[in-house]
Amino acid sequence: MESLSRQKRINLLKERMLRQKRYMSIEQALITTRIYQENEEKPVIIKRALALKAALQEMEIAIEPEELIVGNRTKGVRYGVVSPESGGLWIDKELETLPTRSQDKFNVKGADIKTYREVIKPYWQGKSLEDILKDKFGEEFSAISKVAKINQTDHSQGHICPDCDLWLQMGPEQIKQQAQQKLQSENLTNKQQNFYKAIIITMDGAQIFMHRYSELLKQMAAENTQYKKNLLEMADICGFIANNAPESFHQAVQSLWFLFVILQMESNASSFSPGRMDRYLYLFYKRDIDKGSLDKEKALTIIECLWLKFNQIVYMRNTNSAKYFAGFPIGFNIAIGGLDENGNAAENDLSYMFLQAQEDLGLPQPNLSVRLNKNTSQNLLEKSIAVVAKGSGMPQFFNDEAVVDTMIESLQIAPKDALDYAIVGCVELTTQGNNLGWSDAAMFNLNKALELAMNHGKCLLTGRQMGLDIGGLDTYDSFEELENAFAGQIDYFMGKMIKACAEVEQGHMDLLPSPFLSAVIDDCMEKGLDVTAGGAHYNLSGIQIIQAANIADSMAVLYQLIYKEKRITGTEMLTALQKNFQGYPVIKAMVENKVAKYGNDVKWVDNIAVKWAQYFREKLTHYKNHRGGLYHTGMYTVSAHVPMGENVGATPDGRLAEQPLADGGMSPVYGRDAAGPTAVLQSVGRLDNNLTSNGGLLNMKFLPEFFATEQGIKKFAMFLRTFVDLKIPHIQFNVLHKEDLQEAKKNPEKYRSLTVRVAGYTAYFTELDGKLQDEIIARTQYDAV
């Protein structure tokens, strides 16, 4: 029916999507289990490929008649998919509580619980990644977990930007043929042969999957007169791209979506990023527009249909992980603008349409990012700000002036790849299509390490001996002694962390090879090597530094009050910390009021953050990861500052035991940035960019009034221009009224589509845990003065 307007179509689909309940799904888990049982003797990579192919053949599928982009990995939308090969333990423990847990709830059907426990669990026990790591290294990991939290232990890696351009140029058929050719080469190892065979199997599966949609569309067309034309057109598209590389814009977008659905079916992981979609889709768009076969309105409708799709896949995490990454961020990150291959500012119609789609839909996905640089047009800048002003927290901004050179200089990345960088997940920086960045390898809690340095290696919360006993605040005679002890604790835990990371990587290599993904990551095909085994051109590992703001504030207090002004003794401070400041109101008041804080453009304090982050980063360069690549650092936490804070006792900056750490990663502690946003930028600008080569996060909240007028938007543009000049890698804004949030907490049903930025991503506010909601409400808000 041609009369369906864009708004109508999109609203209808959106409403229908949001109304659907989320369920846990074991459909694919059952298929995978069966295939593994039937093929016990085959190599893991072949089993994985066969399991994916079977899922592509057998999983139930569904289509909405109004959709212009079809496909999902389960029949229902936003289902939580169980992947027993990666993680089983937690699901068994949480089957009963998934529907009621505080964060990211899923409904569970009674029959599924039974099937899971009787069919799936018995097979995978002791075989899944989680089980194996736990059996072999469980104690080792948990001994260091309060300082170094090791990630990727119970799910596939994800966090990668596939070569979408290659996928669109070739399609599954040509990729399959390429693998078949490779298989004919001489001197292949067994492993290589299996790798190519696995790719062929998965590409077969991909083609079958697309044909199934084509068939279903035809069937629906036969019964549905209203949308017959639409359905038949879609059937043609799906059939065509199953066998050919896409030609039209519509085909290209549909093909792209299938790519991401299948990647999700193979890995069930967070953060497969489309990257610079306005660049690689533009040729298709331009060709159709020039031919007259596409108009802008149709193009925008297709884009908005895709935008809806990005919201239909969510990622089910265990309860603990859901605390760290609340709101099931799935991390479809799209980067627009930026630089072209010659270093000139890039933008096109699609950049603006993506912004428009974000403005129209206001949903949490995709995670839209704008790459800014000195030559970004005023138009793109102001349009982006106008979309931010709508309050969905998007787009977020990245800074080419900070990122490109850093990638080249500190990660040895080729200039052409650095110019073409994109973002995975929330804020993690990556090159496109050729990089297994392993950007979420671990989080290192510097504040816990400092706690151990102050308290003889003992945990303030439990009294347990966790680190080395190098001394305590009661024994150090000078600030240098304290610093040396802090460094000692960092070194001690870093060694253990690196070992653990290698063990996790080995687990992924052994158990979760990913042939479909490898087919779209450059160099894997050439080398005949799976991406988990180091097949990608770049192989990095990122460790997050948690949290430099609290470290700066705490160290500043220790330095000034104990060692410089001698207003309190080390022993007094240590006792106050042990007592969580109970009975020490004067010390508490002094640490809060008498010492400058990070984020206020006070150089000596900001430099403490730089010093310790640099210490950490420098130490890391002494190690290589398990795939032979470099370690580097990021400064972002998503929502991990809350649980990470729960692990830390009272800190010298006046933070009470178990309270959250600073949010963001580069941001000051909330409420302590009294000198305003320009001072925050100056402070954050002091962090060297090699510290955030894995991604940095600066979070700022503004009231909507700030953007209310054209004047306001212009001033905001000036603010961002200076942000670019100061070479800060990232910034994002929350535009909210406190009252909005309080109201939303009370009446969630009225605010179902209200989104907030939790950190590097946007989530539905009403779906966040109450504690996190309060925390967001309490965050600093800037008012224009």
């Binding site: 004067v586 008041a589 002094m590 946003p677 306001g712 603010f719 200076t722 000049d725 224009a784 003065v785």
Partner: protein, 301 residues
């Protein structure tokens, strides 16, 4: 303190006091005393030690100092300003920041260091605004300071009541890029009643500046205070007079600021409203603007 100025606040990222992203410096001391004053802490011309009860943790450190200027009665801190010998010592000793000077002296170099921190932002059109209190109350200082700012390439703005000697204004004008002048009440009797000073000097200065070569960088403002300034009569008289002096005058009406009352708990004055009045709505603002339009104003903001 000739070459230093008494400042009661410095705000970076100030958005409403001129173009772009600005730093606003608030000079202490004002010859007027408007009963609706939005910055009452800026009226008094001397620096004072003040106590913020909400921050106080009742630790008694302050009452132990030798000058006995601070005492405590029923958990209430009382300051005898006349006895204070070294106010800085009180500031240092108070662990919570509850005892604080309400203002501080700065040399122009010190101020330059502070404002220059935001130079990277001023580059795109912001600058420095001098406000108060009444900046011309410390006229000799600001004239030199404005010149320094301009030499440093910083765009300058001044907000003034214009209750000042014309010669000083004239000396400052070359270094000011935008001058915001309040014209609050037309009727002299009422002006005197509500601001404590009569408006003859102010009117003369406004007339002179509007008829000078600097007129195009002047913006006249009337703060809309319910009952006091926001009346049809007052606004049309002001507008007519302005238009008579210079038909191209820039004139702006400022909406009432409902947040001022909170500041009065730290000063010895009373606020003119018991209850907070709501902001004027866009419709009300429009009808105020049509009054001044009718009276002959062409350039309004």
């Amino acid at each position: 303190m000739k070459n230093r100025a008494l400042i009661f606040d410095i705000r970076r990222f100030s958005m409403h006091d001129g173009a772009g992203i600005r730093t606003t410096i608030f000079f202490k001391g004002c010859p007027l005393h408007c009963i609706w004053c939005q910055n009452p802490e800026g009226i008094e011309k001397n620096a004072r030690l003040v106590h913020f009860p909400a921050k106080c943790i009742l630790c008694n450190y302050c009452i132990k100092l030798k000058d006995n200027a601070v005492t405590m009665e029923n958990n209430k801190i009382i300051i005898d300003t006349s006895k204070v010998i070294d106010a800085a010592e009180y500031e240092y000793i108070c662990p919570s920041g509850a005892l604080r000077m309400d203002s501080k002296y700065y040399s122009s170099d010190e101020l330059m260091t502070i404002v220059k921190k935001d130079m990277p932002f001023f580059k795109y059109g912001g600058g420095v605004t001098l406000s108060g209190g009444e900046p011309f109350f410390q006229a000799d200082f600001i004239i030199k300071f404005l010149e320094k700012l301009q030499l440093a390439g910083i765009y300058t703005a001044v907000e003034t009541s214009f209750f000042a000697v014309w010669e000083k204004i004239e000396q400052a004008l070359p270094f000011i890029d935008t001058l915001f002048v309040d014209f609050k009440i037309y009727d002299n009797g009422k002006h005197k009643k509500y601001t404590n000073m009569d408006n003859i000097l102010i009117k003369n200065n406004i007339k002179k500046v509007l008829q000078s070569k600097y007129s195009n960088k002047v913006i006249i403002r009337t703060p809309l205070i319910p009952k006091y300034t926001a009346t049809k009569e007052n606004l049309s008289l002001i507008a007519e007079t302005l238009a008579k002096w210079n038909k191209n005058v820039n004139y702006e009406l400022l909406n009432y600021n409902p947040l001022a009352r909170a500041k009065y708990q730290h000063v010895a004055y009373d606020y003119c409203f018991v209850e907070d009045k709501p902001l004027y709505t866009q419709a009300e603002m429009n009808s105020f603007y049509s009054i001044i339009k009718e009276a002959g104003i062409k350039n309004f903001r």
